[in-house]
């Protein structure tokens, strides 16, 4: 480096009286075996957060970007201006959606362990961030989910059998066995096709919202992304486009603390909140207790009303905790303290909603047990039904030729040739007719 400045040697060494620079590599608070103490997590009292007008200037949400919107108190009653004042039937529907999603996750996780499919992802502990929030949207508002929002489909009444067909990649799978399990798509339910590439759905949601505005439609778009994925360029492009065009869109960030084994510090959480990202873009921002179903509902309702009134896009951070592993291919005991889940200071969303309904005198243990049993039974029946269409690797899949369909609208010559080849090969590869893998 003869051309370089003499005091800037690549290998370090003599630096005169200048202090040696130091690199910071984030480290989570607890590793396996550590005792957990979440006292550094500030949990403000429920009901104390102000609720600005939905059409307010984005900067008026500044304090809320560092606060935590909470409705359900320690007494399991709703408090303060963010109380969405939901009636008991809506709350019970929400609880049932929670319970059904949990039962579904439980069964599918087991199904993966039994070899019925290759992969599954539970949303345990995060149910409120998808179910409660999506219940505040209109059923035809378009959602651009990430991979842990199965609760939205369940809340929108998508048949469980269809979901399981997709997970099993069987001949009933509407997606013809092309997508990884849990990467659903349902145009009928305004649920966008899930991508495995992270945060790509965020500018797409903004584009959809822009299109809706260009056409003078009244439907808005909402997207969900994990806190780890906010580091992707797509997320920042999405924020820029959303603010530039005042797109009727909601950007939901699920801060569940863990991106596989990397804690939220690797997405920048040590320096500021994810909601505060909104401020630099001129977006409204809300930081919400993601385990408080009423707060999740209220925040999404606020953002939806704001978008629908052309008052602007909103970034909502749900502060929550991924209670289970990242997926069936992950073992969290290898990187975090097993105690974390128990000690998480914001509790469990299903339990909190259940106790809220009980505090209102609208629910009891008997009904709760009956509901859980019904949900388990409903999932079991759907599983049996879906298994008639096959499970992964058992040959009950879509015909070979479908592999070549939908690459383009029409089959070009080279895909026709390759399709014929695949069908020819089949007879040699699988003389008994059906491939095992």
């Amino acid at each position: 480096m003869a051309d370089g400045p003499s005091d800037n040697k690549q290998s370090g060494g003599e630096r005169g009286n200048k202090p040696a620079l130091q690199l910071h590599v984030p480290e989570p608070h607890y590793r396996p075996g550590d005792k957990v103490d979440f006292s550094h997590v500030e949990v403000p009292e429920a009901g104390r957060q102000p609720r600005p007008d939905e059409a307010c200037a984005a900067r008026e949400t500044e304090a809320l970007c560092y606060d935590l919107v909470r409705v359900l108190g320690e007494d399991y009653r709703a408090h303060g201006p963010w109380d969405p004042k939901l009636d008991a039937d809506t709350l019970r529907t929400m609880l049932r959606n929670f319970a059904l999603t949990r039962a579904f996750d439980e069964r599918m996780f087991r199904g993966q362990r039994q070899g019925k499919t290759s992969f599954y992802m539970k949303c345990t502990g995060e149910e409120a961030t998808s179910i409660a929030s999506s219940m505040a949207l209109a059923s035809d508002d378009m959602v651009f989910p990430s991979y842990r929002q199965q609760g939205i489909l369940i809340a929108r009444g998508y048949p469980l059998v269809e979901m399981i067909n997709q997970i099993y990649s069987n001949r009933g799978d509407k997606l013809k066995g092309r997508q990884l399990p849990i990467m659903y798509s349902s145009r009928e339910h305004s649920f966008f096709s899930i991508s495995g590439n992270l945060a790509t759905q965020t500018p797409q949601a903004v584009g959809w919202a822009m299109a809706s505005a260009i056409k003078g439609d009244s439907r808005i778009a909402a997207t969900w992304v994990g806190e780890g994925s906010t580091a992707e360029g797509d997320f920042h492009s999405a924020c820029t486009f959303a603010t530039v065009y005042n797109a009727p869109v909601i950007l939901n960030v699920i801060n569940n603390q863990w991106a596989i084994s990397s804690f939220s510090g690797f997405a920048g959480a040590e320096r500021t909140t994810f909601a505060a990202r909104a401020l630099g873009y001129g977006l409204a921002g809300l930081r919400v207790d993601g385990n408080d179903p009423l707060a999740c509902y209220a925040a999404q309702q606020w953002a939806a009303n704001r978008a629908r009134a052309n008052a602007g896009p909103t970034l909502v951070e749900y502060f929550t905790y991924r209670a289970e592993g990242h997926s069936t291919s992950d073992d969290p005991s290898g990187y975090r303290s097993a105690q974390e889940r128990e000690e998480w200071p914001l509790g469990d969303p299903v339990m909190r909603l259940k106790k809220h309904l009980m505090a209102l005198g609208e629910w009891d243990e008997q009904r709760d047990e009956a509901m859980d049993a019904e949900c388990a039974d409903q999932v079991k029946k759907a599983t049996k039904e879906a298994e008639k269409n096959g499970i992964l690797g058992h040959g009950l899949h879509h015909p070979f030729r479908t592999m070549f369909e939908d690459v383009f609208e029409e089959l070009p010559w080279h895909l026709k040739e390759q399709s014929e080849q695949a069908i020819r090969e089949r007879e040699t590869k699988f003389p008994e007719g059906l491939p095992k893998q």
């Binding site: 378009m142 651009f144 509407k174 997606l175 013809k176 092309r178 997508q179 990467m183 798509s185 349902s186 145009r187 966008f192 096709s193 991508s195 495995g196 590439n197 790509t200 965020t202 500018p203 797409q204 949601a205 903004v206 584009g207 959809w208 919202a209 822009m210 299109a211 809706s212 505005a213 260009i214 056409k215 778009a221 360029g233 797509d234 920042h236 492009s237 999405a238 820029t240 486009f241 530039v244 939908d406 690459v407 383009f408 609208e409 070009p412 010559w413 080279h414």
Partner: protein, 332 residues
């Protein structure tokens, strides 16, 4: 060619309220190459508009618009800038139809000026078409005349698949013989400049016979069609020049018919050589026409270096390189 492109955009904006034109500087100013001049004034700010400098955002937003039901025509100012948008093109636009079993489609047409010859240096001169040809689910179109530019662009916008539409900027204003100091003949005075008014389209996947000949097949697209033609005419070679127009889908019938007739094949493109689209063409010709070949297939391409600024004309695959290759093929 610029006027033909502008005309095609105007026609589609006029005919189809779902067509949206967007990109850096395309609105009020009409684009750095003026391809979108006057369109915002005519069709309004929500149909033709400027975007932030974010190729990932432009393409990602266009995918979302396509999913809604619009037909966005985003412009990427230079093909060299398309890389930040690649994930959205490769993982999203190209595969949306497939992964959703046709529940959602991304019918976008990404327009982008490409190729060298204007002293654009390494970041305003590249020809990245091979990257897109390698991706399942994208169509790649490269016109070489104003007539084709208009007809192919209209077809691309009407197509329900995502299309990359590369505009060879060296020939925006006229064809080009390959000699850097030779003045460009304006399209207005050129035989290929006749562009009918109104709507017409050219199907994607159909090549154009530039000139008929018996001695040699030249496979080319974009700028190189004109350079190859000028060389063949100057050398008096009786060449069969096939302008591919679209490299995906590819007109394999036209290629096979020509090579079987002439028995000799030269492939010319401006992009770098290794793993370029010429390699694919060479393999296809060898696989499908081997027993008709009287000489090895030759490729004339750019060099495997970044596009240089001051040595641009040493890099450019011009008449000398093409002439040598023709001599070699014909001498076999």
């Amino acid at each position: 060619m610029i006027e033909a492109i502008n005309d095609a955009l105007s026609i589609k904006l006029d005919q189809d309220p779902d067509v949206i034109v967007m990109g850096e500087d395309v609105g009020y100013f009409g684009g750095v190459f003026r391809a979108t001049a006057g369109l915002q004034e005519k069709y309004g700010k929500t149909r033709v508009f400027d975007t932030p400098i974010s190729e990932c955002g432009i393409i990602g937003v266009a995918v979302g618009m396509g999913a809604y039901g619009l037909r966005p025509v985003p412009e990427i100012q230079f093909a060299d800038y398309i890389y930040p948008g690649l994930d959205q093109l490769i993982s999203e636009a190209a595969r949306l139809r497939y992964r959703s079993a046709a529940e959602y489609i991304a019918p976008l047409t990404v327009r982008s000026p490409f190729g060298g010859g204007i002293f654009g240096g390494q970041t305003h001169s590249q020809s990245p078409e091979a990257i897109f040809a390698h991706v399942s689910g994208l169509k790649t179109v490269i016109p070489s005349t104003p007539y084709d530019a208009k007809g192919l662009l209209i077809a691309a916008i009407e197509d329900n698949d995502p299309v990359i539409f590369f505009e060879p900027k060296r020939i925006y204003n006229g064809p080009f013989s390959g000699y850097y100091d030779k003045p460009v003949e304006p399209w207005k005075k050129h035989e290929d400049s006749v562009v009918p008014e109104g709507h017409y389209s050219i199907p994607l996947g159909k090549a154009r016979k530039v000139i008929e000949g018996e001695e040699l097949t030249v496979l080319a697209y974009g700028t190189m069609v004109h350079v190859a033609r000028a060389v063949c005419e100057k050398k008096g070679v009786d060449a069969d020049i096939v302008d591919l127009r679209t490299i995906v889908p590819l007109d394999i019938e036209a290629i096979e018919a020509s090579v079987r007739k002439t028995g000799r094949c030269l492939i010319v493109h401006e992009a770098t050589r290794t793993s370029g689209f010429g390699a694919e063409l060479s393999a296809l010709v060898t696989e499908r026409c081997f027993y008709h070949l009287e000489a090895p297939v030759e490729r004339v391409t750019g060099f495997d270096t970044p596009y240089p600024h001051s040595l641009e004309w040493a890099y450019f695959p011009g008449p000398v390189r093409i002439g040598e290759a023709i001599d070699k093929i014909l001498s076999e």
